[in-house]
């Protein structure tokens, strides 16, 4: 064979090989695209987790469990199963979360979250004066929606195995709740005999006896919780609209506080 024929033949072989590679790649392409899309989504979730820790956790809780009156729980069965119907949202859950983050909560919707007294949920999108870019909002959406499996009970998240002290009883909770009561300044408005002398709010010395009968169908614990979160939901006769119990109580602190109040019997 002449050199020309050698080269043309080698060129032909290289071209056929290229085409074979392309065909093989093409056959694997749907699977590769799916893998790439999954990885890209996973990356969004990872980035969303970082953004959530930076921007969202102070109001919605480190694990999306909600923080007292500040922000509702997101890692929550109701959020995934009932929330869209509750607010009459027509679009997808992703669009609901995205628009809520971008625009903020312009009008409060039931159940009412008071916020910290200044704003309800602020607008986070750069388009509306917030700090987040569109891609960051999408990452946050991916992260928040990824709670669905554990919130609705499909997946059980295991706690980190750590040497924990033995579980405390209600009495232990009540002891901590008393500290919360004092530290959070509840006593400035409420009297508990022997503990505080506030007068602008109802006397709580024997609140455990009456809490269960204030609101029909509501347990004492739920009533106390509601009274803290939404002070004006039920006003005891003779008292003005109270101050918002501003500041942040974590869910755990609130639980402790309620446990403490439930020990206050006449």
């Amino acid at each position: 064979m002449s050199r020309i024929q050698h080269e043309l033949l080698s060129g032909l072989i290289a071209t056929v090989l290229s085409l074979a590679l392309l065909i093989a790649a093409g056959r694997a392409e749907p699977e590769r695209l799916a893998r790439r899309a999954a990885a890209a989504h996973a990356w969004e979730i990872e980035i969303g987790a970082e953004l959530y820790a930076d921007h969202c956790r102070s109001c919605h809780g480190i694990n999306g469990e909600g923080v007292g009156q500040l922000g509702p729980a997101l890692h929550d069965d109701h959020f995934f199963r009932g929330r869209l119907r509750e607010v009459g949202w027509q679009g997808t859950p992703g669009e609901y979360v995205a628009s809520t983050i971008a625009l903020g909560r312009v009008v409060a919707t039931a159940p009412f979250y008071a916020g910290d007294g200044n704003v309800v949920m602020p607008a986070w999108s750069q388009a509306y004066g917030g700090p987040l870019r569109p891609d960051e909002i999408q990452s946050l959406v991916a992260f928040v929606l990824n709670w669905e499996a554990s919130a609705t009970g499909t997946v059980e998240l295991r706690p980190v195995p750590t040497p924990t002290p033995s579980l405390e009883d209600l009495a232990g909770q009540a002891v901590r709740g008393e500290k919360v009561f004092l530290a959070a300044g509840c006593g400035d408005c409420h009297t508990i005999a022997g503990l505080s002398k506030g007068t602008s709010g109802p006397d709580l010395t024997a609140v455990a006896d009456i809490a269960g009968s204030r609101r029909p169908g509501m347990s004492a614990a739920d009533y106390l919780r509601e009274s803290f979160l939404i002070p004006n939901a039920y006003l005891v006769a003779g008292y003005e609209e109270g101050a918002r119990c501003g500041g942040i109580l974590s869910q755990k602190q609130l639980d402790d506080l309620v446990a403490f109040l439930l020990t206050r019997k006449g």
Partner: protein, 518 residues
């Protein structure tokens, strides 16, 4: 009978119209490597009839096509340019040049478009190949002294083409709008700002404002897809026409001016036809180049993509693209105006002026020791500067941050991402004193890697009494939170200060679909 010959004549006429005057039997003769069957040689006439062929010489002196003389570098630079144009046109369909959309459009290309990732990898790979080949082509031309005399102007257009090639590569660098792109270009354009007199204006012109934003991206996009390719095409035409028609192809120096036996000279300067000898060779090279690009892009090379550009967050390590590392090296040696602008401009000025400075008429290596010595010095300087420009040199992260960066880099995949997701055990694991036998091997090796790094930093005094900790928590379905914590003791700073325990913490997240990969 009449009808059949009539048909044959019609087919032949059509074939000749398409194949630049070559009949079917002539084409077959070409492929067989036979001599032309008609007179006058229809293969030469093809150079007159066809636009694409008319810029190619009909014949080449044999020695000018020797592999050791050209290494086919000019050919491959052009080949890569064509690949860039073809892939670039397709990529333009999917790319959106706005800060809000650019990054998402790249993600879409990779995750939704069949062959999209291949296209992007080939485009990036061929772009880097073009930079490398253009530079090596110039180096070869310098070594064989093919820039002298009548070839001076050709050299000048070549220097301009190298500058355009670098401009194309650099402007393309910004387009994905990721951290890598954003900060490399921010640093690159900040040098323009150091230019005396016109620095501020030039910087504003390039960036479209004080910082790179929507306007800057659009400018770089426009440069990348229109202005620079057009300039490259124009100059490439001038460059090639000069080589092919203007002054003759350069032969190896010892044949052009050496003392050769006449027979040997005659053999070396024997003219070979472009069609089919060189055309077959170019078809062969292009097929090989195409195969190499596709295979590399499929199996070896992945075009990098970091996180979305974030002007508020400077990466721990910013690196210029490899072909500009030498400038970054220069910047570490001096100030921006002199080292970042002065020296590179002077270098390009020297290159452009080379044929006019080098008055030595000889091309023979042994008669130009000074030129070759200076050339070697220049290449050595480039290599040293490139090394100085790498992020590892001269810039030292604090020891704990460096360990954090090694275990869990800001960008890309770190050792903990490589542990299969289910082998990341939940719990709190100290680098020292954890029972590694009870852990999955892949995770245990990361833990011992951390221990080794801490011990090394401790021994060198960077992190006295260093301790490390990895906490793995199940955060969401298929998502784990990793906390890497390093503590160490600092020396008391003054008499009043007690020694203090310092803490470095890095928290990051690993999703199942991004773990276990390499």
């Amino acid at each position: 009978m009449f009808r059949i010959t009539h048909l044959a004549a019609a087919v032949d006429a059509r074939a000749r119209a398409i194949a630049a005057g070559l009949s079917i039997s002539e084409l077959r003769a070409l492929l067989r490597g036979d001599k032309p069957g008609e007179r006058p040689n229809p293969r030469y006439r093809a150079h007159v009839i066809s636009f694409l062929l008319h810029i190619r010489p009909r014949t080449y002196p044999l020695a000018s096509t020797w592999f050791t003389h050209t290494f086919r570098l000019g050919f491959f630079t052009t080949f890569f340019f064509v690949v860039e144009a073809l892939t670039g046109v397709v990529l333009m369909i999917y790319y959106v040049p706005t800060p809000d959309q650019a990054y998402a459009s790249i993600i879409r290309l990779i995750t939704r478009v069949p062959f999209g990732e291949l296209l992007r990898d080939v485009h990036r790979l061929a772009g880097e190949g073009m930079v490398a080949c253009a530079f090596l082509h110039m180096l070869r031309t310098y070594v064989t002294a093919s820039y002298k005399g009548v070839r001076s102007f050709t050299w000048l257009t070549g220097v301009a083409l190298l500058a355009i090639t670098l401009g194309l590569a650099f402007s393309g660098y910004l387009l994905p709008w990721d951290q890598l792109a954003y900060w490399a270009v921010t640093i690159g354009t900040s040098m323009a700002a150091a230019m005396p007199w016109i620095g501020k204006e030039l910087n504003t012109l390039l960036r479209g404002g004080p910082d790179i934003g929507a306007d800057g991206l659009l400018r770089f996009y426009q440069l990348h897809v229109i202005a620079l390719p057009l300039a490259a095409l124009l100059l490439l035409g001038v460059h090639y026409y000069k080589v092919a028609r203007g002054h003759g192809l350069s032969l190896p120096a010892h044949i052009e001016e050496g003392d050769l036996p006449p027979a040997e000279r005659a053999a070396a300067t024997r003219r070979i036809d472009f069609i089919p000898d060189l055309l077959a060779h170019e078809v062969f090279l292009a097929s090989l180049g195409g195969l190499a690009l596709i295979a590399l892009a499929l199996f070896v090379y992945d075009a990098p993509l970091e996180r979305h550009a974030n002007p508020q967050r400077t990466p721990l390590e910013t690196a210029a693209p490899w072909f500009f590392l030498w400038v970054q090296g220069l910047l570490k040696l001096g100030d921006k105006a002199w080292m970042g602008i002065g020296v590179p401009l002077a270098a390009f000025g020297l290159l452009a002026a080379l044929p006019y400075l080098d008055r030595n008429p000889s091309r023979l290596a042994r008669r130009r020791p000074l030129a070759l010595g200076l050339g070697a010095l220049g290449v050595a300087a480039l290599i040293v500067l490139t090394y100085l420009g790498t992020p590892g040199y001269g810039v030292h992260l604090p020891a704990a941050v460096a360990i954090g960066q090694a275990m869990a880099p800001e960008e890309g995949i770190g050792p903990l991402h490589m542990v299969p997701f289910d082998n990341l055990p939940l719990g709190v694991f100290a680098a020292e004193g954890t029972d590694e036998a009870a852990l999955p091997a892949s995770f245990a090796s990361v833990l011992s890697d951390l221990r080794r790094r801490l011990a090394e930093a401790d021994a060198r005094g960077a992190l006295p009494q260093a301790r490390g900790l990895i906490i793995v928590e199940e955060w969401q379905a298929d998502l784990k939170r990793i906390t890497l914590r390093i503590t160490w003791t600092t020396e008391p700073a003054g008499e009043t200060q007690a020694e203090a325990r310092q803490v470095y913490t890095r928290v990051f997240y690993i999703h199942r679909q991004r773990s276990g990969h390499d």
